[in-house]
C-alpha cells in the first residue's frame, strides 16, 4: 500500500488496457476496457446483487472448507502421531493425492444430485486431501530436538503429546488451511456450476455462457478479491496463533 511504484504501474496497466481497447476498435466480444468492467461492478453493488452473490459464495466456501478441515485436521494429526497408522494408510493417501480431484465429481453428482449438499461436498473434496497431508507432514516435522528435551525432563508420552506435539502442530495446521483454501476456491468455482442460482462463480459462468465478457471479467476480479481476502485472513490467523513461525 505504501509502494508508489506499484500504484504507478497499476495506473499504467489499466490506462494502456483502456487505451488499447478504445483505440484498436477490438470487438466487445473479445475484450472490454476496465471502465466498463468497473461500471458493471458498480451496478452489481448498487442493486444489491453483489452482496447476495458474495454472501452465497463465502457461505459455500466456508461450509466446504470447514467440513474438509473438521475431518482432515484430526485425521492428519492422528497420522502424524501414530506411526503405525501412517505406515498402513500413507501410501493410499499419497495415491489419492496424486489423483486429480475433479475425477470424483461424476460420482458425487450421481450420489447426491444437483443439491446444495453436493456443492458443499465438491468444495470439501478439493480441500480435504491437501489439508490432511499438510497437517500430517507438519506434525511429523515437529522439531525432534523439542521432543528430546521434553524426554530429558522425563515427560510421559501423554505429556509429550499435549505440551510439545500439539502446540507445535498449530503452525502447520494453519498453514495447511491456507493451502487448502486456494484449492477450495477452485472447488467453489466448479461447485457453482451445478445447480447454483447465486454466487460469484455462478455469475462468471453465466457471463461466459452469454458471451458477456464484461460479466466474466467482473466476476473474475471478484473471485480474485475473494481469494486475496481469504489468503490474508488465514495468514493473519496464522500470525495470531503461531507468531513464532515465519509466514511467507
Amino acid at each position: 500500500m505504501r509502494r508508489p511504484a506499484f500504484w504507478i504501474s497499476l495506473a499504467l496497466v489499466l490506462g494502456s488496457w483502456e487505451a488499447y481497447v478504445r483505440l484498436s476498435g477490438i470487438s466487445p466480444f473479445f475484450l472490454v476496457p476496465p471502465s466498463v468492467v468497473l461500471e458493471r461492478l458498480g451496478r452489481w453493488l448498487v442493486t444489491g446483487q453483489l452482496l447476495v452473490d458474495l454472501g452465497a459464495s463465502v457461505l459455500l466456501l466456508l461450509a466446504g472448507l470447514g467440513l474438509a478441515a473438521a475431518i482432515a485436521i484430526p485425521a492428519g494429526l492422528s497420522l502424524g502421531v501414530w506411526r503405525g497408522l501412517a505406515d498402513a494408510l500413507g501410501p493410499y493417501l499419497l495415491l489419492a493425492y496424486a489423483t486429480p480431484a475433479p475425477v470424483l465429481l461424476p460420482m458425487l453428482l450421481m450420489w447426491f444430485g444437483f443439491t446444495a449438499l453436493t456443492r458443499v461436498l465438491i468444495v470439501a473434496m478439493f480441500a480435504f486431501l491437501p489439508i490432511l497431508l499438510n497437517v500430517w507432514w507438519g506434525v511429523r516435522g515437529v522439531d525432534a530436538s523439542w521432543l528430546r528435551v521434553a524426554q530429558v525432563f522425563c515427560a510421559s508420552p501423554r505429556e509429550l503429546l499435549i505440551h510439545v506435539v500439539l502446540p507445535g502442530s498449530v503452525g502447520p495446521v494453519l498453514a495447511s488451511l491456507r493451502i487448502g483454501g486456494g484449492l477450495a476456491l477452485i472447488g467453489l468455482f466448479v461447485a457453482e456450476t451445478y445447480g447454483a442460482a447465486h454466487g460469484i462463480g455462478y455469475q462468471t459462468i453465466v457471463g461466459a455462457k452469454r458471451m458477456d465478457i464484461t460479466g466474466v471479467l467482473a466476476g473474475l476480479s471478484l473471485l480474485g478479491l475473494l481469494g486475496v481476502t481469504l489468503e490474508q485472513a488465514l495468514a493473519a490467523t496464522e500470525r495470531m496463533f503461531a507468531p513464532w513461525r515465519a509466514t511467507s
Partner: protein
C-alpha cells in the same frame, strides 16, 4: 500392502454379495473388466491421450516460463517491488475461472487447454524457484567472487545448481495442478473431449464401472508421473538432500 489387499478383498466381497448398487458404485473385478473393455474398444485411450498431451505441453511451458521468471524475480528486488502484488493477486485467483474467457479468445482446439494449464501451473514453479533464489546463502556469492568467477560462471556453476531442486519441487506441485485443471476444463467444455468429457458422460449415463475405471486410470497416471518426477529430481540433483 496387506492393508490394501484386505480392503480390496472386503470391497470385492461386498460387491459379490450384492450389497453395492451397480448404478451408483462398482466392485474391483467389474472396474478392472470395464477398464480392459474400454482400452480394447478404443473408447478411452484417445481421450486419455488428448488430456495427457494438453497437460504435458502446458506443464512444459509453465516450467520454462516459471523457471525463468522465478530466477528474475528472485534476483531483482526492483521487480519484486513492482510485480509482487500483481503476482500475489493472480495467484490467489482461481485460474480455472478464466476458462470462459480463454474459449472466446482461443477457440476450442488444444490451445485452450494448454493455455489454461500453463497459467495454472506457472505459479507453483514460479514461487518455488523465486524462493530458492531469494533465500540462497549469501556466502555462495561471496565464495564465487573470491574464486574470481565471472558472471556467466557464477550463473551456471552456482545459481543454476542451487535453484534446480526448488524448480523441481515446484514442478511436482505444478503437475498436480496441471492434471486437475485440464480435467476441469474438459468437464466444463464438453466439446474439448478428453478424460473429463468421458467421465462426465459416463456419469450422466450412470455407468459406474466406467467412471471408476477412468478414475483409476487417472490415479495411476498421477501417481506414476509424480513418482517419476521425484526420481528424476533425485537423479538430477544428487547434491540436494531432503525435499
Amino acid at each position: 500392502m496387506v492393508a490394501g489387499l484386505l480392503m480390496l478383498a472386503v470391497w470385492e466381497g461386498a460387491w459379490r454379495a450384492g450389497w453395492i448398487d451397480p448404478l451408483f458404485f462398482s466392485g474391483p473385478t467389474a472396474v478392472a473388466g470395464a477398464l480392459w473393455r474400454l482400452v480394447v474398444s478404443g473408447a478411452i485411450i484417445p481421450n486419455y491421450l488428448t488430456t495427457l498431451s494438453a497437460a504435458a505441453l502446458g506443464l512444459v511451458l509453465a516450467v520454462a516460463t516459471g523457471g525463468v521468471a522465478g530466477i528474475v524475480y528472485g534476483l531483482s528486488p526492483a521487480v519484486r517491488q513492482v510485480a509482487g502484488p500483481y503476482l500475489a493477486a493472480l495467484n490467489a485467483t482461481p485460474r480455472v475461472a478464466t476458462i470462459g474467457l480463454l474459449v472466446v479468445w482461443l477457440g476450442l482446439g488444444i490451445g485452450v487447454r494448454v493455455a489454461l494449464v500453463t497459467i495454472s501451473a506457472f505459479f507453483p514453479v514460479f514461487f518455488n524457484t523465486a524462493e530458492g533464489v531469494r533465500g540462497r546463502d549469501a556466502s555462495l556469492d561471496r565464495v564465487a567472487r573470491v574464486y574470481g568467477c565471472n558472471r556467466r560462471e557464477w550463473f551456471t556453476s552456482i545459481l543454476l545448481p542451487h535453484t534446480l531442486p526448488y524448480l523441481l519441487t515446484g514442478t511436482r506441485l505444478a503437475l498436480g495442478r496441471a492434471l486437475v485443471v485440464v480435467v476441469i476444463a474438459e468437464i466444463f467444455v464438453g466439446s474439448l473431449g478428453g478424460i473429463g468429457y468421458f467421465i462426465i458422460n459416463a456419469g450422466q449415463q450412470f455407468q459406474s464401472a466406467n467412471v471408476l475405471a477412468a478414475a483409476c486410470l487417472m490415479a495411476a497416471t498421477g501417481w506414476a508421473l509424480s513418482t517419476g518426477l521425484e526420481r528424476l529430481g533425485i537423479w538430477l540433483t544428487p547434491w540436494h538432500d531432503g525435499r
